[in-house]
Symmetry: C2
Subunit: 579 residues, 2 copies
């Protein structure tokens, strides 16, 4: 056993020992693909613990915690047990620190009892953290063997802010090596699987969060997103997730790859089983003024007017742009069905839906990848140097990931010069300008007098694919380059009868052909269907409010009455009308 | 004559022809150093034109324009004539377009007459623009021969916004080649001199603005600042100037050097003869929502509460940190006298002043220079390639700037790799974090319960030096790296009796010795004394309000009564008390 494998064996042993023995159960056999029912059936959770963890509305959890109806120790214990169950069926967790979390929960309970007031807006709520968010005294490996033993001397700023808000950090969650994959596998902790179908990927890089929250093993989690790393796992696991704009949520003091790449940077954001969880996180973090602790955090208070949709007609008669495909890969049947469902729901709710025309999506994708590739492989090499752990070349299960010969060919072997990088940055700004103008110009066609209020788009051209198949992140990456905030909303699940394979279309390119050909509803049984709701840079407040409206439209039963949109010059459209 | 010299000769001929012949006067002989009195003595301006151009308060000008008391044609004509006088004594202007400006002024007058309402908050006000701000149909050379004939197809976004605000762009102003000098000289338009003493530099790179506004040839101008390029000319020419935070004022559509260098980027900001000009510009631009036209512009409305100093005790009993030197170059006597004057004025006005301890200033300087140097020379080479104009190697008048052999050695010949650049970016963020924490910690010592409200610092270790002598921009550059907004406030002028040479101190380094040694009050006769007032990232509103307070303290006559600061645990300090 080489030295890096010894390090891994030791780390895994320590991880296993950090689990209370009484929480270890008999997991279902490997051929049980959908394990979402497992926590309820395992027998580990009491009826009350099931009641607590089945409460998906974070606002309800916070109210019960703030009123003392449920103690933080109760709630934290319940979610912790369920998280450990999630770990046993999907391998989603990295750091486990039960005693520490329960000690904090107990202190918060005492505070509430004695002072009759909450510590902050997230009082007593357990929160899971992607394995980048350093917590004092804990290791942060971000999936690198070379970082085993990397104990943090202090908390990341976001962790400090969550503590100030009264939250209870209770687990850290799995990631892919390098953080630059849309799946979750590394040499330290191995692979995380999708709880809806374990032959499918949970997505990545915040894949541990995706699987954990989908199993209701955490009410609220923090992921990061440089090209889709919050949105892809939120989508593949059927939960809510938000990619905020650059620097709205503090990154200071967290560990990351590609450090210093600050042109299309990674951002932290929340994942949850409810839109109320997304809002609670964003408002709590912003209200605690992260710019006083993170020099890059944008000094911008929570904008109540924007949340009231003051620039969006107070939320009446909204106009959404819907992007059916990005011009590169035609989405699979369940994804298109999801788009149709959301369109119908919005029209029924009295809103306007028009087709959104994508521009420059391929070049935006290529530019983002070229920017990261400017020094990605040098960055990866430098980080793996000390242990010579192999750099993972593919996410395929049958991969030769552990072979020294494997080479990750997604980025160029040699980096580029600073001058070449600056030319990419320059082009990136031009592309952002073109898209901004494109969006602003829609004001001529919406009938509301405003540009499109938000864009609806697929998260990927498919639902969660089999392990190793999630290759292009083109549908998400463009919004990182554009720095548009995005919220993932769950819509439905794959239906074997509705989502049958369709005949070939005129393929746009080789990848389009390849993706069309492998689709088979049986292969993606039970996979969730979701969508991206896309807003304007640094307008998180409006996007959250718009997401609440779209979410409500999706959840409401259609009564047969289409609400009329009271616009002098426009009525809800039917069919695909282009902008 | 080589081809680039032919291009220059043609351009200068066209520039000369763009001046109305009747505005050409006999300038004073070259040995008249201080030409600030020249516009008044020239005979070109009528009494009313002198009255208009001598009105330094932009708010008063705007009121008179809005009420119709003064027409825009009158005001624009007056400033235009004075600008052409400024041109004849300091060579500060590049593009001259009298007919076009007066046509617009006339249209604005008609609008006010007919509609009885202003077009926008800057209705009718002439505004000068640094030679980067593209105006449709005009050439933008940014001081490069290779860009002669570069006619803009559309306005820069900031120009569009200023037009929407009702302003009248009327001249463009001179810059140094590459824009990366703290003086103003290029192969196209030559050198701009300091109106207070023409043997001294006007500073740079927005040097044309500095000289023009100091001569009251423009009430409000726009410069840009990547390392001090607004602040240095504002300082050397004794006017107000503001460097806003990154992306608060739109840069989209303007021409620049080092394009794509977006880690320590250049920003646009105002220069004026009054703090009211600074405020009028900032509020007008932000109120017009630049984020709808510039994808990088921060979506942040003008923050009225911040301007009311809600986070600064409503402006009562403020605590200022004063930095006497940056630990690298000890400032010359007039600069130190300026700091003492401001300290006394603030204490007399009832505020607290404590010494500010600089940290990491040298490393912050080196890091900023290394980031720009990552590809600066490649950028310069690429831009000069087409005409083979020489790259200017020094700002000394006796320079061999025009010799092909001259080499600008400020940046490395070969650039660095993207990976190396990312390491600099990473270090930059660490340096910003250290300074943020340093500032926040002062809350323990101010006595106000808050961190220091603003920092006061020299703009340079000297007042305007002789041409070619303005080498390090260390006092300004650090705030670009830190992204702190800064306002320049005029304090006084060099006094031959008060600002005598002082004996040597223990030199901090060779540069410190060199700068100490050349000082002689006779050499910098009449040069203005100014200071930097430094605020928090993206807190422009509070900084403007704080600048109004400091400016009022400076302008008010000291009555002998020290206003008491009504703090339970603190009284105004005397002497230099360190934080």
């Amino acid at each position: 056993m080489s030295s890096w494998q010894t390090l891994v064996a030791d780390k895994k042993k320590r991880q296993q020992e950090s689990i209370p023995q009484e929480w270890i159960v008999s997991p279902p056999p490997d051929d049980v693909l959908n394990v979402t029912g497992f926590p309820g059936q395992s027998g580990l959770l009491s009826a009350k613990e099931l009641q607590i963890t089945n409460e998906v509305d974070v606002q309800v959890l916070l109210q019960k915690l703030a009123s003392g109806e449920w103690s933080s120790v109760e709630v934290t214990t319940a979610f912790y047990k369920r998280a450990i169950l999630a770990q046993q069926v999907t391998n989603c967790v990295t750091e486990i620190f039960v005693e520490r979390a329960l000690k904090r929960a107990s202190e918060l309970d005492a505070h509430l009892r004695e002072k009759r007031t909450v510590v902050g807006p997230l009082h007593g709520l357990p929160i899971s953290l992607k394995d980048q968010l350093c917590v004092e005294g804990l290791e942060t490996t971000i999936g690198y063997v070379s970082l085993i033993g990397n104990y943090a001397k202090k908390n990341a700023v976001l962790v400090d802010i969550l503590l100030e808000a009264g939250a209870v950090p209770f687990v850290r969650t799995n990631v892919p090596q390098t953080l630059m994959w849309g799946e979750t596998f590394n040499n330290v902790f191995g692979r995380t699987t999708n709880p809806y179908n374990r032959t499918l990927t949970c997505g990545g890089s915040s894949g541990g969060e995706g699987a954990l929250i989908a199993l209701k093993g955490s009410p609220l989690g923090v992921g990061s997103d440089i090209g889709g790393s919050i949105r892809i796992p939120a989508s593949f696991c059927g939960i809510y997730g938000m990619r905020p704009s650059y620097h709205r949520v503090p990154y200071e003091g967290a560990l990351n790859t590609l450090q210093g790449e600050d042109s299309v940077p990674s951002v932290f954001g929340p994942l949850s089983n409810s839109i109320s969880g997304i809002k609670a996180f964003m408002k709590a973090v912003i209200d605690l003024e992260p710019w006083k602790k993170d020099p890059l955090a944008v000094r911008k208070h929570w904008d109540h007017e924007a949340y009231q949709l003051s620039e969006h007609g107070e939320g009446k008669c909204l106009c959404f742009g819907i992007m059916w495909d990005d011009g590169n890969i035609v989405p699979h049947p369940p994804v298109l069905r999801g788009l149709t469902m959301i369109k119908d729901a919005l029209v029924n709710a009295g809103h306007i839906v028009k087709d959104w025309k994508p521009i420059n999506h391929k070049e935006m994708n290529d530019t983002a990848v070229a920017i990261w590739g400017a020094a990605a492989r040098e960055d990866f090499r430098m980080t793996t140097l000390s242990t010579e752990e192999p750099i993972i070349a593919t996410m395929l299960p049958e991969s030769n990931a552990f072979s020294e010969a494997a080479v990750d060919t997604r980025y160029p072997q040699e980096g580029i010069s600073s001058y070449q990088l600056w030319q990419l940055h320059k082009r990136k700004i031009e592309l952002r300008k073109e898209y901004l103008d494109h969006w602003e110009k829609t004001a001529q066609d919406t009938g509301t007098g405003r540009p499109v209020d938000a864009i609806i788009a697929p998260v990927a051209p498919y639902v969660a694919p089999p392990h190793g198949k999630n290759r292009p992140a083109g549908y998400t990456r463009v919004y990182n380059l554009l720095d548009y905030p995005v919220i993932i909303l769950p819509v439905s699940q794959v239906d074997q009868e509705l989502d049958v394979k369709v005949p070939p279309h005129e393929y746009l390119n080789d990848a389009d052909r390849e993706f069309h050909q492998w689709y088979d509803p049986a292969l993606v049984r039970d996979a969730p269907i979701t969508l991206q709701l896309i807003g304007r840079t640094l307008d998180e407040e409006a996007l959250v409010a718009l997401a609440e409206i779209v979410d409500a439209a999706l959840r409401s039963q259609y009564t047969g009455d289409v609400k009329a949109c009271n616009l002098h010059d426009s009525l809800p459209t039917t069919g695909h009308e282009a902008l």
